[in-house]
Amino acid sequence: MNEIEKRVLANPKYQELIRKRTPYGWIMISIMFFVYYGFVLLVAFAKGFISTPIASDMTTTWGIPLGVGVILTTIILTGLYVRRANAEFDPLVNDIVREAQK
């Protein structure tokens, strides 16, 4: 391990980055898993509910908004992650890089 790496490792900001970013990634992945497999399980085991119209005089079933919702969730979660990464992780990374090269 070279000097720069040693400095990074000793930097509390690096520890903070590791402590925050990876677990955040896993939490977001877990939400995605929960949403997607929740949808798949509903589709597989609660067919009746999925095929029920959202109102008695309508054709649109619950499955449609839920399905489109999964697609939108994917985009929204990605957006949330990118926003936090831009606002919080990037400045941390920039600090770490700058402080390591002093």
């Binding site: 391990m1 720069i4 790496e5 990074v8 490792l9 690096y14 980055l17 590791i18 970013r21 990876t22 955040y24 990634g25 896993w26 977001m28 992945i29 995605m32 997607y36 497999y37 949808f39 798949v40 399980l41 589709v43 597989a44 085991f45 067919k47 999925i50 095929s51 119209p53 309508m58 054709t59 649109t60 079933t61 499955g63 449609i64 399905g67 489109v68 999964v70 697609i71 939108l72 994917t74 985009i75 979660l77 990605t78 957006g79 992650y81 990118v82 990464a85 831009n86 990037d90 990374v93 770490i96 890089v97 390591a100």
Partner: protein, 566 residues
């Protein structure tokens, strides 16, 4: 360059807009005429315009392609937005455009379930892989997976994983291309396959990643423009009420089922696709993890300058792909109302002229007349071309960078030679795909895409994830687990209905699920874990000790190779 580009591109986009003005006049013509197998000159002309533009770009790209870095990664100078479009372009293949809209037309809601599967792998890439990939790698995903490992074994594995995925994907695309082009343009099958193969070789050989990326970007914009127009026209007919669109679809489906309302309503809920829940879950798993293991997608993360742009590119890609699938769903329902009810698109037995996958193509004729039909046909052709170019480039990098440069030459740097090998491989892959495309003409190749996803999910993805995030992972563990995943996926796919029954002609499938992922993915992860834990060699200790340094680089980008190549 950008301005010229934008002008040409707007010119191309205006074609369908002009088309709508002519709809009324053109609509009187027999729609079947244009979608049959007679030579469709309008579509050919639009396609020729696309090819002309892309060849011009290739010429420009060739003048910029000097080093290995230019060839493999466009010199790392693609922006996040451009790369997002290129990634989306790689993912929105003709198969997903035509296949999913047709699936929605036939089965309604099931098509949506299928489309969702293709969406959910993207967050996985965003949250855990994309930025790290950019920080650790240069040309191929093996750079990343093998960052702290013994190079020869991991590269041999990664190249095998890449080539298996690329070849199966290529064959599926080539056969699809041949059939589609025969139908849309009225060209003989072999001519179509040869044209695709040769054009793809020109892009890759001369223009490298720069040309491949721009071809992909243009095609993505054309395709997104096309589906937007199509979906807009469909929704316009229903005064932008999805409810009206659904109830009309149910009415038509009921009518087609001789008044059986239950059958009509079946398109609004889960049907055959989820008859076997475990099979569905396994298939979903292959799509989710497979996306994060497709070499031609992973390769795109090396074309952007830094991790921030990599992150931006997945956000754009995810947004465009989601938008695309939602519109595809609308298009499928539109096809129920405007294709299934129009005798000029149907054979006497009620099936679609030209085959099951033609729903979106016929709909484009119904909504925009022959000019829009020509546009959509040209876009479908362009789509295949762009996707095969990306696949070929990633296969070529695996051979020249991983096998030739890192294994054979043991990392000894001679970029000129490496480039030569890469170009030679691209040419050979092009020839192989032409030959296999012609050989497999009459085969059912649909399973090959799911096979490619299954292998990507079971071999490439576990190795990539574990080497990135698990400090105790060792070379032996990664290589053993990767090959176990690869072999399990291949064996189970061979025993499943798609190969065992449909190709080999046995009576019953040994393996009952559509996808092996639910077994082969855990098998790969378990093997990586077990073998790594049991690995007590001194090399293993060194590899574990190298994790903190790898982590520093993957998290911060410190030590990253500059975008400018030697």
């Amino acid at each position: 360059m950008n301005r010229v580009f934008a002008q040409i591109f707007l010119g191309l986009l205006s074609a369908p807009v002009l088309g709508t003005a002519l709809v009324t006049a053109a609509h009187a013509a027999d729609p079947a005429q244009a979608s049959g197998s007679s030579t469709n000159w309008l579509a050919i002309a639009m396609f020729a315009a696309f090819v002309g533009l892309t060849l011009w770009i290739t010429k420009w790209a060739a003048s910029k392609t000097r080093t290995a870095g230019d060839f493999y990664t466009a010199g790392g100078g693609i922006t996040g937005f451009q790369n997002g479009l290129a990634i989306a372009g790689d993912y929105m293949s003709a198969a997903s455009f035509l296949g999913i809209s047709a699936a929605v037309m036939y089965a309604g809601f099931d098509g949506l379930i299928y489309a969702i599967g293709f969406m959910v792998g993207w967050p996985l890439i965003t949250f855990l892989i994309g930025e790290r990939l950019r920080n650790l790698g240069r040309y191929t995903f093996a750079d990343v997976a093998g960052y702290r490992f013994a190079q020869a074994p991991i590269r041999v594995f990664a190249a095998s994983g890449t080539l298996v995925v690329v070849l199966f994907y290529l064959i599926a695309q080539m056969v699809g291309a041949g059939q589609l082009i025969t139908l849309l343009f009225g060209l003989p099958y072999w001519v179509a396959v040869v044209i695709v193969g040769l054009l793809m070789m020109v892009y890759v050989l001369f223009g490298g990643m720069t040309a491949t990326t721009w071809v992909q970007v243009i095609k993505a914009v054309l395709l997104l423009g096309g589906v937007s127009f199509l979906a807009f026209m469909v929704l316009l007919q229903f005064k932008f009420s999805p409810e009206a669109m659904f109830s009309e679809a149910v009415r038509i489906k009921t009518e087609l089922a001789d008044g059986d309302l239950a059958k009509g309503l079946s398109i609004m809920g889960p049907g055959k696709f989820v008859e076997h829940p475990f099979s569905t879950i396994s298939f979903g798993m292959a799509l989710m993890f497979g996306t994060a293991g497709l070499p031609h997608i992973l390769m795109r993360f090396f074309t952007v300058p830094d991790a921030k742009e990599a992150r931006k590119s997945v956000l754009w890609a995810t947004t465009w792909i989601g938008y695309f699938y939602i519109l595809t769903f609308v298009i499928g329902f539109g096809a129920i109302s405007f294709v299934l009810t129009n005798p000029s698109f149907l054979n006497p037995d009620g099936s679609l002229i030209g085959g099951n996958n033609m729903a979106a193509v016929h709909l484009s004729n119904a909504m925009g007349g022959p000019i829009f039909l020509g546009f959509i046909s040209a876009v479908a052709f362009a789509t295949i071309l762009a996707v095969v170019a990306g696949l070929t480039l990633s296969g070529a990098s695996a051979v020249s960078h991983d096998l030739y440069s890192m294994v054979l030459m043991k990392g000894g740097h001679d970029t000129k030679k490496e480039l030569k090998v890469s170009r030679a491989t691209a040419a050979i892959l092009g020839l192989i795909s032409i030959i296999l495309g012609i050989t497999f003409e009459k085969q059912n190749v649909a399973f090959m895409v799911s096979l490619a996803f299954a292998v990507a999910a079971s071999a490439n993805f576990p190795v990539l994830l574990m080497s990135l995030l698990w400090k105790d992972c060792t070379t032996k563990g990664a290589v053993a687990g990767g090959f176990v995943g690869l072999a399990t996926a291949l064996v189970l796919m061979t025993l499943s209905k798609a190969v065992w029954v449909d190709v080999f002609g046995f009576e019953q499938a040994v393996f009952g699920w559509t996808s092996p992922a639910l077994i082969s993915v855990p098998a790969a992860f378990l093997t990586i874990w077990a073998v790594s834990m049991l690995d007590r060699s001194t090399n293993a200790d060194k590899e574990r000790a190298a994790f903190p340094a790898q982590q520093i680089r993957s998290e911060t980008g410190i030590g990253i190779a500059p975008a400018v190549d030697e």
